[in-house]
């Protein structure tokens, strides 16, 4: 699986995975966290479009709802997918930096 499977939701999906790497969160907490850490405002439609796909692919899972808020967390598959993605991103960043310095 690669990020292209998420279509236009690939960036939001990766932001959500990175956000959930810090622990379980519900929708609003994810929006706040992503805005604070990445400076990206995810609209509610985009957030849930990405969430539903991540859940479908088994990268995140929902936990029992607390009142009406339902927290989500990374699955094992989600953790390794994020790790793999970040590693390839790291490789890409270091290669690009090297090219800039050359």
């Amino acid at each position: 699986m690669d990020t292209s499977e998420f279509g236009r939701f690939s960036d939001p999906a990766m932001l959500i995975l990175a956000c959930l790497a810090g622990g379980e969160k519900h929708g609003y907490a994810m929006m706040e966290d992503i805005e604070a850490t990445a400076g990206v405002h995810l609209g509610p439609g985009t957030l849930y479009g990405a969430l539903s796909r991540l859940e479908q692919y088994g990268l995140i899972e929902s936990l029992p709802a607390d009142e009406r808020r339902r927290p989500y967390r990374l699955t094992g598959q989600g953790t390794s997918f994020l790790r793999q993605y970040l590693a390839s991103l790291e490789k890409f960043v270091s290669l690009s930096l090297k090219r800039l310095e050359a």
Partner: protein
Amino acid sequence: MISEKVRLWLIRLYPHAWRERYAAEFDILLEQCLRSPLDVVDVFLGAVDAHLQVLNGENVSWRIMNMLNKLRTTLLIVFAAYIGFIIAGFSLVGLADDSPMIPLMKTDPLLKASWMTIQIGAAVALLAVVIGGLPLAGTVIRRALTTDRRNRSLLLVPVFSFLALVLYVGFVLLVWTGRIQIAGVVPVVSPGYFPPGNRLLMMGVMLVFILGAIASTLAVWKVVSRTDTGQETFRIGSRALSVKIYSFAFVPAVIAAFSMLVILVATLTWGWLSFSAFPQVFTGNFGPWLTSTQAWYFGILTLMGLCVLSAFFGLARGLSARKSM
């Protein structure tokens, strides 16, 4: 801040399967974060995307959710049909009680057998509903007491309905025994005489019972519909028992539906045998409170028939859902 009405309207833009899964949490998110027109546009786009996903059959989890919902609706339809059947059953007992059919049933073996079949069918249906409904009821009550607080008041509807019936029956007994005097109501009724006042009083019992049953069924339907109950773990002593609630309840629902069908056939047989042996019964007023026997009997048959049809319609939906799971 956007009003609740607008939020609900926005959520309704999403497909049914999506709403079943995400509506509650999405609503609370919109309540907190919907501030700019851009967010509203984003919700619109999200709804379009969700519809496309459904059309393409992309999202498996929603499809499963859809199937589970169908299964849940099946159980609720069978439950509602059973409640309707209880009303018909009590009416049948009221029709047979104190009627000339009682001595007839003691002597005619076929009539006795058909009545026995009705009783056995009723016991089996009750057992099936209790066994199938117990884990679901346990889950719903547990959730209402812990997380789903909005369901608490709805769960009180059956309790209050029962209390209303008990209070009304208590009132009737007080009138019956002469402790409360009401104009037009005679405390002691002689055989073959049932004044209109007494008839009204007794019809009140039936009305309270039927209204309570309808209100309770609607409340249970609403509570179960909005409780997330796919699978539940019950602790029995030190053991944990995981139950797939809807699948577990499906077989008892089938048994309950077939029991209702057996009761309907037995009631038809019982009526036909009674009519053959004693035609005057059906042309006379041997129904509860000396009302028309025919009207009661055919009313009961109609209600039973409708309940059986509804139960089997529900089962057909449930079977198609189980096949596609």
